[in-house]
């Protein structure tokens, strides 16, 4: 696994460029095993900027494991994951926005405080301003002072997404983002994802809803017992030129 490290702080937009046009998310022969059994087996994928990719599969197929490997949270048993040609590391976590179904929210802190904490951890220049923007975007301004543990599941899901995207990352990984959302929430999230795609963000989300995937995603990757069934579509895109 490559071990290049990016500078610790996010550089300004003016002085950062992707490494040699490398694809934002690449996995090569990615395998993750638990107790000797592969949960994800030899996955190859490349996702470009501005792509919205749906990851589908039955329960236990390995979707969450694959997403966590792509997020750099799980160390692959073999193979590698690259973000813009570099191995994920804590220093480069500003590139990633990851939201899981657990939420990663502190129940005692208010919605505003949860977002403010995330903004401060990313060293955003004007964290409070950004928090106010995200609360407005998610329709949660009037819940800003409420403890996260007391919000409904749908509102917690919105807050979780806002937390993941507060720093406007180029790579967005979402694990079951539509779970717990009502009709209005679903529509809101679909619009937001389309907007992110327009802004050239790289988005991978997992879902059980095939219809939703067809309506929203540019392409679909299906996991069956840890194996990506859809062939790598790199022939439809220029191959990622990575280090």
């Amino acid at each position: 696994m490559t071990n290049n490290r990016q500078p610790f702080l996010r550089p300004t937009a003016a002085d950062w460029r992707p490494e040699r046009e490398a694809a934002p998310v690449v996995a090569r022969q990615l395998t993750r095993a638990m107790n000797g059994r592969p949960v994800v087996a030899r996955a190859d994928l490349a996702v470009q900027a501005g792509e919205l990719v749906a990851l589908t599969g039955a329960n236990g197929a390995g979707k969450t494991t694959l997403l966590r490997c792509l997020a750099g949270r799980l160390r692959p048993t073999s193979g590698e994951v690259l973000w813009f040609g570099l191995a994920p590391s804590p220093a480069s976590h500003w590139l990633l926005g990851y939201a899981a179904h657990e939420g990663h929210l502190y129940p005692e802190l208010t919605a505003s405080e949860n977002l403010l904490f995330a903004a401060r951890m990313h060293s955003l220049p004007q964290p409070q301003q950004r928090v106010d923007e995200m609360l407005a975007k998610t329709g949660m301004t009037r819940y800003s002072g409420q403890a996260a543990g007391r919000l409904s599941q749908g509102l917690r899901q919105r807050l979780s997404l806002a937390r993941a995207l507060v720093h406007d990352p180029p790579i967005v990984l979402l694990d079951e983002p539509f779970a717990g959302l009502d009709t209005a929430g679903l529509a809101w999230l679909e619009n937001w994802l389309r907007e992110l795609r327009t802004r050239q963000r790289t988005i991978i989300f997992s879902s059980h809803d095939d219809q939703q995937c067809r309506a929203l995603a540019d392409r679909k990757l299906e996991l069956q017992s840890g194996r990506l069934q859809t062939a790598s579509l790199t022939d439809a895109y220029p191959p990622a030129r990575c280090a």
Partner: protein
């Protein structure tokens, strides 16, 4: 069909014979060569075993920590097997240290236990080894088990010198370098060398056993015999 012994089997057999001979010679020296101690009589001969196993216990802790560090650096399961083997034998030696130390203490100081530095440090070492095995037993995933127990082994390695220092400053009735007849010193040295050789041999055998078990388990998982 004739089956030939592999070179490694021959080496192990030769080493076993060698260590056995060394231990036999050591036993002869302890009981027949070493002079009888004036104050304690024949009971004093426990010291030759006590010091040797205490040394091996400490060496086991050091080996466990160093091989654990190697595992974290290389992520090769062989180092984890070495670490586990060293830990198991180190724990056994720590147990023997406490047992033989208690026997000696009862004869020398008329008490089975006293909070003198080396016994205290040995008890701490024993508890650390026990904790190491409890952690290993709590984790099913092999990689996670190796990683967490490696961290604990490194903590123990960093801690043991401080424990020894603290307990020495706290109390000091254990003989550090007692006056000894030159023949006694020779026997003590032979004893330490013999038990160290036994420790190394057993560590090799145990590590081979752990590797074989891991290979069997891996094969069984691949063929779907076990989950």
């Amino acid at each position: 069909m004739k089956r030939r012994l592999s070179i490694s089997t021959i080496s192990i057999l030769a080493a076993s014979f060698g260590v056995s001979a060394l231990l036999a010679a050591c036993g002869w020296m302890i009981f027949l060569f070493a002079p009888r101690e004036i104050t304690m009589g024949d009971v004093q001969r426990i010291v030759y075993l006590h010091v040797a196993v205490a040394w091996c216990g400490l060496a086991g802790c050091v080996a466990m920590g160093l091989t654990a560090a190697a595992y974290l650096a290389r992520r090769n399961s062989v180092w984890d097997h070495w670490s586990q083997a060293a830990g198991e034998l180190g724990w056994l030696c720590a147990t023997l240290t406490l047992a033989t130390g208690s026997l000696w203490a009862h004869e020398a100081w008329n008490t089975w236990w006293t909070w003198e530095p080396r016994l205290t440090a040995s008890l701490v070492l024993w508890t650390v080894f026990a904790g190491y095995f409890l952690v290993r037993a709590s984790i099913e995933d092999a990689q996670r088990r190796a990683r967490l127990s490696a961290v604990l082994a490194i903590l123990a390695l960093a801690d043991v010198p401080l424990v020894i220092m603290a307990t020495r400053w706290f109390r000091g009735i254990h003989p550090v370098t007692p006056e000894m007849d030159p023949r006694m010193r020779i026997v003590l040295l032979i004893s330490i060398v013999s038990f160290s050789a036994l420790f190394i041999l057993l560590a090799i055998l145990r590590k081979e056993q752990l590797e074989l078990a891991a290979r069997v388990l891996s094969r069984e998982r691949q063929t779907g015999v076990v989950n």
